[in-house]
Structure formats: structure tokens, C-alpha cells
């Protein structure tokens, strides 16, 4: 009961504007969850490999690309707005297990074969994505 009284005292000290700020913040946070946690589908993928600085590939066309990497050829499949590694001459096959990628901002790669795929929508500007100190 002491705990309940304490909380009652605490709430009693809230001014009207404090309560308004609290409720406003809660609604702001809910909105931010809805806004920032929605995913947008990607329209194209950038494939980077030792041979291609960046090969731009549309995700609307069903096709398989055979990309030459440092170890060998990786097969990359595009189907219905999605893209994945089908086969790769690497040891662990993480790239294949990563599976289908379809959202703007998604990134998948086969590091041993030095091939990366970045998904983007058309307004995306290419830029470095992190600085490490």
C-alpha cells in the first residue's frame, strides 16, 4: 500500500502540461514506430564484384546472373522484386543461407568471393554507410 501511495503522490505532482507532454510523447513514439519501421520494397540492386564496379540490376525482371568473383562464379537469382545468391564457390555458404532480399536498404554479400548486393529504391543516393574510429 505504501508503494501505491507513493505513486499517487508522484502522479499528483504532475502539472497539466506535464501530462500533456507525456501523452504527446507517447503518440510521437507510436507514430515514429509506424513510420520508421515500415519497409519499402526495393526497385533495383547494385551488384559489386571484382569485375563490376557496380552493376545495376532491375528487380522486376526474372533472371539469373552469373557473376565472376575472386574464387569463381556466383549465381544470383532475381525473381518478383527479390534477389538471392543461388550458388557460390565459398566455403560456408552464408550468402546462400541469407536467402531472399527485397527491402530498400537490405544488403547481402559473399565476402570470400568479394561480391556484394545492395538493394535500393530509385531515390537512394550512393554514399558511405559508416565511419569507424
Amino acid at each position: 500500500m505504501a508503494g501505491l501511495t507513493l505513486w499517487r503522490n508522484i502522479i499528483a505532482d504532475f502539472k497539466l502540461a506535464d501530462k500533456a507532454v507525456f501523452l504527446f510523447s507517447v503518440s510521437l513514439i507510436v507514430t515514429s514506430f509506424l513510420y520508421f519501421w515500415q519497409t519499402t520494397p526495393a526497385s533495383y540492386a547494385m551488384i559489386k564484384s571484382p569485375q563490376h564496379e557496380s552493376l545495376q540490376v532491375s528487380l522486376n525482371k526474372k533472371q539469373t546472373y552469373n557473376i565472376q568473383g575472386t574464387l569463381g562464379i556466383s549465381a544470383i537469382e532475381v525473381n518478383q522484386g527479390k534477389i538471392r545468391f543461388v550458388s557460390s564457390p565459398c566455403q560456408n555458404k552464408f550468402c546462400i543461407q541469407h536467402g531472399w532480399q527485397q527491402h530498400h536498404g537490405d544488403l547481402t554479400a559473399c565476402l570470400p568471393n568479394r561480391i556484394s548486393i545492395q538493394l535500393a529504391d530509385l531515390n537512394q543516393t550512393a554514399s558511405y554507410d559508416a565511419i569507424n574510429f
Binding site: D13, S25, L28, G105, I131
Partner: protein, 177 residues
Amino acid sequence: MHHSHLQIETTHQDRLIAGFAALAISIHLLESALPSPIPGIKPGLANLVTLYVLIRHGWRLAVNVSLLRVLAGSLLLGSFLSPTFSLSLAGAIASLTVLGVAWHIPGKPFGPVGLSILAALAHMTAQIVTAYLLFIPHTALFTLLPLLLTSALISGTLGGILVNRIIKRLDELTQHE
């Protein structure tokens, strides 16, 4: 031989700023030793000093204490002019600006809790925007924003409640004297 002593005249305000800044810096250092579950989520205890100083001694003193804390804290931790420092400074400037506006609204509608929440949200938003502009210009960064704002709301609310109780308790103590 004549010795001349260089003496700086200090006012009562200067001594208040120095004392509160020292307190804030100590809390800042202690807090930096605490492990954080997720980068960016911290209780922000040093900001409680800023809030207390704002309510008791006004905005100008709060600005001095907060900026001194960021500067001296970074010098002591060795993060001066590092990304951590930029983020810390951006957060402090944003929360001080918001506090300045909220504090000077006629009739003083906000209590410690409202002020604390506003400052915490401004602090967090400024930090993530700064991180985006300077270090990680990738929109995926904003995926963290809702989570960080939630943590800011929680720590801001609890911080405001704490400051409110500290002020009430200190009032009681000074009345009994």
C-alpha cells in the same frame, strides 16, 4: 622582491556553476563506467543536475553547468572532439534550447517531469540526427529512433520524478533549519 598575485574575482554565481558542474561531471564519469545494453541507451543522470539547476537557479546557469559538463567530461574521458563528444554536445545544445523555450513560457506551465521529458526527447533526436549527418548517412539508422525515443521517454519521466522529489525534500530540509 614584490610578488603580484593574480586573483580572479568570483561571484556567487560562478561558485554555484563550479559546484554543480563538478557534481554533473562526477555523475557523468560514473555513468560512463556503467555498461550499456544498447549503444545510445543511458539513464542520463548527469542531466538531472542540469534540470535541478534550471529550476532552482534559472536557464543561464543551467547552460553553463551543462556545457561545462560536456567539455570537462570529454577531457577527462579522453573523448574530446571525438564522435562521442559531437553527439554529447549536440544533445546538450538541443536539450538546453528546448528547456530555454519551455522555461520562459509565461506562467511556467511545466513541472520537472514535463521539462525532463522535453529535454530527453530533444537530446535523443539531436543525437541521432547528428549521427546521421556526420557519421552514418544511412536511413537504416532511423530504425533505431523509435526505440531510442522510448528509452528517452522512460528515463526522462523517471528523471523528472526524481528531480521533483529532490527539490521537495530539500525544501523540507531548509524549512526545518
